[in-house]
């Protein structure tokens, strides 16, 4: 069969089934959009992780007046101990940089955080512990720092800010997985609709396909117009879905980002990557649905 002839047959088919074609396009658009939102949620979680893990530190609190852990039984940290800890930290290869926070600095920060409350008046600088703020090259390697320093005389405790963030990201992860699951289910729905639509189209055109068969059309050429109709509907639906995701990105940039300054947001690259993945999904799902349906309903 010639390309011109096939094109004409496909356009005729799409026109004759216009209501079903529209239904398929809308369903594909919606389901791919939902899946796209899931993909963007995934990107967003990744962006936030990068942003936050880049800022978190390990805090090594040194023994002070009020410390009561067993390692502080010898009283507040001595100058020797402090020097030893600092030089040990600086020789650890996984450490990116080390910052020493003195009691005075801790007090300044404390006053700032609890400004205007009664707490400020009841606390003095020497009640607050001095600490080392340690930034790791890879925040996941906290365990190494922990095993090297906790339990050492002069060190009260070793704290990882990651544990707090991890709870937050666990929650975000659940939300993201939910979005992806909804997206996948709706793509499945779209596949079923495509399959059903092609079944109806095959039934509506049984005269044509019957005649094609009689004059010796190959299986492939009988099925090709139907397959192309499914793919074209999927591509139009994908175009709409990409439009919706782009609109979402613009909305986030214009309205959400100025309000939520504590994080970065997914970029246009993430939108295009998601869009590419949606195109592949749309084509593959449509092709599989068509193939399975047509094999059953358009036998030679």
């Amino acid at each position: 069969m010639r390309a011109g002839f096939v094109t004409k047959e496909v356009l005729n088919g799409l026109r004759r089934n216009i209501t079903l074609t529209i239904a398929v396009v809308i369903t594909v658009a919606i389901s791919l959009s939902l899946l796209g939102v899931g993909l963007l949620a995934n990107s967003q979680v990744r962006v936030m992780k990068d942003y936050w893990y880049d800022k978190i530190e390990v805090s090594i609190f040194l023994c002070g007046q009020l410390s009561d852990s067993p390692t502080c039984s010898g009283g507040p940290v001595t100058a020797e101990q402090r020097a030893q800890i600092e030089s040990d930290l600086k020789t650890l290869p996984i450490v990116a940089n080390v910052y020493y926070e003195s009691q005075t600095e801790a007090f300044t920060r404390f006053k700032e955080r609890f400004k205007g409350t009664a707490l400020v008046d009841n606390v003095t600088a020497d009640q607050l512990p001095e600490s080392y703020r340690v930034k790791l090259k890879d925040p996941k390697q906290f365990a190494i720092v922990q095993s090297a320093f906790s339990g050492r005389p002069g060190i009260d405790s070793v704290q990882d800010q990651r544990t707090i963030l991890d709870k937050f990201f666990k929650l975000l992860g659940v939300l993201r997985d939910g979005a992806l699951a909804i997206g996948l289910i709706s793509v499945l729905t779209a596949a079923l609709l495509i399959s059903n639509t092609l079944r109806i189209a095959a039934f509506n055109r049984r005269r044509e396909t019957g005649v094609m068969r009689l004059v010796g059309a190959s299986n492939f050429s009988i099925q090709l117009p139907f397959l192309l109709e499914g793919l074209i509907s999927a591509i139009i639906g994908w175009g709409i879905a990409t439009g919706i995701l782009s609109a979402l990105k613009s909305l986030v940039d214009a309205r959400v980002a100025p309000l939520l300054t504590f994080t970065n947001f997914f970029g246009w690259a993430d939108v295009w990557n998601a869009s590419l993945l949606l195109l592949l999904t749309g084509l593959v799902v449509s092709a599989i649905a068509s193939f399975l349906t047509l094999r059953k309903y358009l036998k030679v």
Partner: protein, 229 residues
């Protein structure tokens, strides 16, 4: 051209065979009438020739192919060598007469130039020179059947199969269709036609094969319709 050896066809879920151990041969260029009462197996026989159905047992050779071993993907190519005409014309209602005839050529991938040259020629052969732009619904039954014959003939098949082609036509139109089929037969095309039309069979005096309950009960050269019913 067509050779059957003990061909039996039993449809699934049926206990009585629709064709029962049929053995016969049709030579190249022959014209054969297939007669017999309703349900005697005429259409079944034609469907086996076209490989729309598979034989249950026995061997069937058509146009040099052994149909029992012909693989499924080769069936379309095999069918391009066989033209088909049916009682209900089977035209595409949303295509013009020319487009209907051209369809058979487009399916086999003929060049547009070739199509533009041959479609008017065939329409002229079937006597519909000026009807190319009409829709099937604007034609009489006889004219529609001529379009169907034009479509069946345009790829120059070796065999033409006709299942009651005059079944819906009045006697004058039927005579016209028969003249056309006769003409096609004279170009060397083997024609096998199932019919209930006694007058036509008696007039043409061609080979007649009569089926009864799936059995060949008569095979007569220059035969007549020969039974009432």
């Amino acid at each position: 051209m067509i050779r059957c050896e003990n061909v039996t066809k039993t449809y699934s879920k049926q206990d009585r065979p629709a064709l029962d151990s049929v053995t016969l041969e049709v030579a190249k260029g022959e014209f054969v009438f297939l007669v017999g009462q309703s349900g005697s197996g005429k259409s079944t026989f034609l469907r086996l020739i076209l490989r729309e159905e598979k034989v249950t047992s026995g061997r069937m050779y058509v146009a040099g192919k052994d149909l029992s071993t012909l693989s499924q993907w080769k069936v379309p190519e095999f069918r391009r060598g066989i033209g088909t005409v049916f009682q209900d014309y089977r035209l595409l209602p949303n295509k013009t007469v020319s487009e209907n005839v051209a369809f058979a050529m487009q399916i086999v991938g003929a060049a547009p130039k070739e199509i533009a040259r041959e479609v008017p020629e065939v329409l002229e052969l079937v006597g519909l020179d000026d009807y190319g732009h009409r829709m099937p619904a604007e034609l009489s039954g006889g004219e529609q059947q001529r379009v169907a014959i034009a479509r069946a003939f345009i790829n120059k098949p070796q065999i033409l199969i006709a299942d009651e082609p005059t079944g819906n036509l009045d006697p004058t139109m039927s005579v016209g269709i028969m003249k056309l089929l006769d003409r096609i037969n004279r170009t060397g095309t083997t024609v096998v036609m199932a019919t209930h039309d006694d007058k036509i069979v008696d007039q043409m005096r061609k080979r007649v094969i009569e089926l009864e309950n799936g059995l060949v009960v008569r095979d007569q050269v220059r035969g007549i319709y020969g039974y009432s019913g």
